[in-house]
């Protein structure tokens, strides 16, 4: 595959959810892409639409959700128009996903080795004879110590970090082009979190795999990602290479998010909260969904047709009055 063609390209995506109390405009004009070997971070607070973007890209949007506009191209497949059979083929082979709370994602009454073996056999990379050896190899690939013994362990006998390693082993067993990690370390201890993130980064590099890290932790995204996509209330408001984004955030929300995150040095006076909350996505919304919380707001911000502006190569900002 051509290096220039992104593994995943989401273009102008709109997603709505029908609920009893009205239509939630969960995503609007969301565009982003991931290249081969690249790790991007989708960062935002809860309710910003990070996970919905990822689920839609996998073609596993909830029944109540509806794509009203846009296109998703995943490894050459038009996800929104492909038949379910092709999508199933794609999931696993092209793209895999890991979630938070790995322990609940594993079957509690089967040994972890067997569960890995199931996945390996389903994808044809192992047969009845060599499944045990292949599963142990997979455990080894995610740096699980003593894989022979751990192969026969049940999920409850393993720590949360160990379970997440097993989920990673399963996700990567069929060598996907793209890994989507949805808050993979939430609920894990800091040292475990660091070890898991190191592992994901290392494996991605080794396999030249594209990775999407969904997180609320700006610090973690900065630490591991090449590029960061910032979301707020269903909009992508800014995206840029990590270093550039941190050096010169252009969207007021990004800047505020950085100021709100404690970062080691400095005192409490250096961090600031962001006034207001997310707007009600069921209501009639202004073109800029941050305008109600923004200090730089002026009448021009209410003009329709707000689009992302490329302020420098690869740095897109969706704001009429960028910093």
């Amino acid at each position: 595959m051509n290096e220039r063609v992104p593994v995943l390209a989401v273009d102008n995506l709109n997603v709505e959810f029908r609920t009893r109390s009205g239509v939630v405009k969960a995503l609007e004009n969301v565009s982003f892409h991931v290249n081969r070997g690249e790790m991007i971070g989708i960062v935002g607070e809860s309710g910003s639409g990070k996970s919905v973007s990822a689920l839609t890209a996998m073609g596993i949007l909830d029944e109540a959700g509806r794509v009203t506009q846009g296109s998703i191209n995943l490894g050459g497949l038009d996800v929104l128009n492909a038949p379910e059979r092709d999508l199933q083929e794609m999931r696993g082979r092209e793209v895999s996903m890991i979630f938070q709370s790995p322990r609940t994602a594993l079957n509690p009454i089967r040994t972890v080795g067997k569960q890995i073996g199931d996945v390996l056999r389903r994808h044809g990379s192992a047969n009845r004879q060599n499944v045990r050896a292949e599963a142990i190899k997979a455990l080894m690939s995610v740096r699980i110590p003593d894989p022979e013994r751990r192969h026969d362990a049940y999920p409850f006998e393993l720590s949360g970090g160990m379970c997440q390693r097993i989920m990673i082993a399963m996700a990567l067993s069929c060598r996907p082009e793209l890994l989507i990690a949805d808050e993979p370390t939430t609920g894990l201890d800091v040292t475990t979190q660091a070890a898991i993130m190191d592992l994901i980064k290392e494996l991605a590099k080794e396999r030249n795999m594209a990775t999407v890290l969904i997180t609320h932790d700006l610090g973690m995204a900065a630490d591991y990602c090449d590029r960061i996509v910032v979301m707020h209330a269903g909009h992508v408001i800014e995206q840029a290479a990590t270093a550039e984004l941190f050096a010169s955030p252009r969207h007021p929300y990004t800047a505020k998010l950085m100021k709100a995150t404690p970062h080691g040095e400095g005192s409490l006076d250096d961090i600031e909260s962001i006034a207001g909350g997310l707007p009600d996505l069921r209501a009639e919304l202004p073109p800029c969904r941050f305008s109600a919380r923004c200090e730089r707001y002026e009448a021009a911000c209410d003009m329709p047709a707000l689009i992302a502006d490329e302020v420098s190569p690869g740095h897109l900002v969706t704001c009429r009055r960028p910093l």
Partner: protein
């Protein structure tokens, strides 16, 4: 500075009777006849000899990972559970001797309060914000007059910037930040001397975290409370605490002034913790990484360092002798064979 809380060799051991040899006397008797093996019921050392103190008006940070005994320790300090051994003395009185079941009637009940981690789970779904904040005032301060109670609840709500109109709402009608405020209001309503904050911001979005942290600092100054700030978010601990203690598998491994712990950690575990903080500034730096999982807290070897096996600098002697407590500076110590006085 006067000492508010003094904890000495505090221990909490759980006898795991269900997991060892049966505690049925008949089964025991038969076992003893059949085998020569000595009966031993495994014991979980949740908190194993912890000593520290909190001064009046001080913020002490308690850092450690899940399973290190933080929560058990907090439960004992707040007198929600009973200790196995040791002393908890609060403002000069040994409150550890009072069984937790009857502690609600002690005068110190008012003085020690907790703000829990999950702002939603810690509110009774059938209580309005008003009911929740009013309850400690009724039970502990004995205020029954409705008008007076309303006045006091409204005053507390104002103190924590909780709009008056939210007082009649149920928890499910409040946002995360508002629920956090209700929890804080309940805890400070009786003006405690020691407020234990159990990960008070970990369930909140970044955008509200800062307001809540600032609110906590302001309340501390206004009401002259001491804080025991339990957290795994070291960035937050660093912002709020004067002193920090680091726990690992039921024991304190390092203790000292916050700034010193963060800039010159002496214990390898503390070093690993600090270098694990995700941070834009540290991207690409060399890191201390831990391998494997912590050892089991069940029947730990008394003659070995509990961190041995995960420790990047572990040596043979670590598995043969418990590490000594070494003073790094006057008020900074680490429990490690390799710690050096500076």
């Amino acid at each position: 500075m006067s000492v508010l809380l003094e904890v000495e060799s505090l221990k909490k051991h759980y006898v795991l009777s269900g997991q060892g040899p049966s505690d049925n006397p008949l089964v025991r008797w038969v076992r003893q006849r059949l085998t020569s093996a000595e009966d031993h019921t495994p014991v979980l050392h949740a908190v194993d000899g912890v000593s520290f103190e909190i001064n009046a008006g001080e913020s002490l940070g308690l850092v450690g990972e899940s399973g290190c005994g933080k929560s058990t320790l907090v439960g004992m300090l707040a007198r929600l559970s009973d200790k196995s051994e040791g002393r908890i003395s609060f403002a000069g009185r040994d409150i550890g001797e009072v069984p937790s079941k009857v502690f609600h009637a002690e005068p110190e009940r008012t003085d020690i309060q907790i703000v829990f981690q999950d702002p939603h789970e810690s509110l009774n779904p059938r209580f309005t914000s008003f009911d929740t904040i009013a309850e400690p005032l009724k039970r502990l301060k004995g205020i029954t007059d409705k008008a007076e109670l309303t006045k006091m609840v409204e005053a507390v709500a104002e103190q924590v910037d909780l709009p008056k109109m939210l007082l009649s709402r149920f928890p499910h009608q409040l946002s995360g930040g508002q629920k956090a405020r209700v929890n804080i209001a309940r805890a400070v309503a009786v003006e405690p001397k020691l407020l234990i904050l159990d990960e008070p911001t970990s369930a909140l979005d970044v955008s509200v975290q800062a307001v809540i942290l600032k609110l906590l600092v302001r309340l501390k100054n206004d009401l002259g409370m001491s804080y025991l700030f339990v957290s795994h978010d070291l960035n937050v601990v660093r912002l709020l605490c004067d002193r920090v203690i680091v726990m690992y598998l039921g024991q304190i491994v390092e203790s000292g002034p916050a700034e010193e712990i963060f800039t010159r950690p002496a214990h390898p575990y503390t070093k690993a913790l600090i270098s694990a903080i995700p941070n834009a500034a540290s991207a690409g730096n060399e890191r201390v990484r831990l391998t494997g999982d912590p050892k089991s807290p069940i029947d730990p070897d008394p003659n070995a360092c509990r961190f041995h096996g995960r420790c990047p600098m572990g040596e043979d002697k670590c598995s043969r002798a418990a590490p000594p407590q070494i003073s790094v500076t006057a008020d900074h110590y680490a429990v490690c064979h390799f710690a050096q006085p500076s």
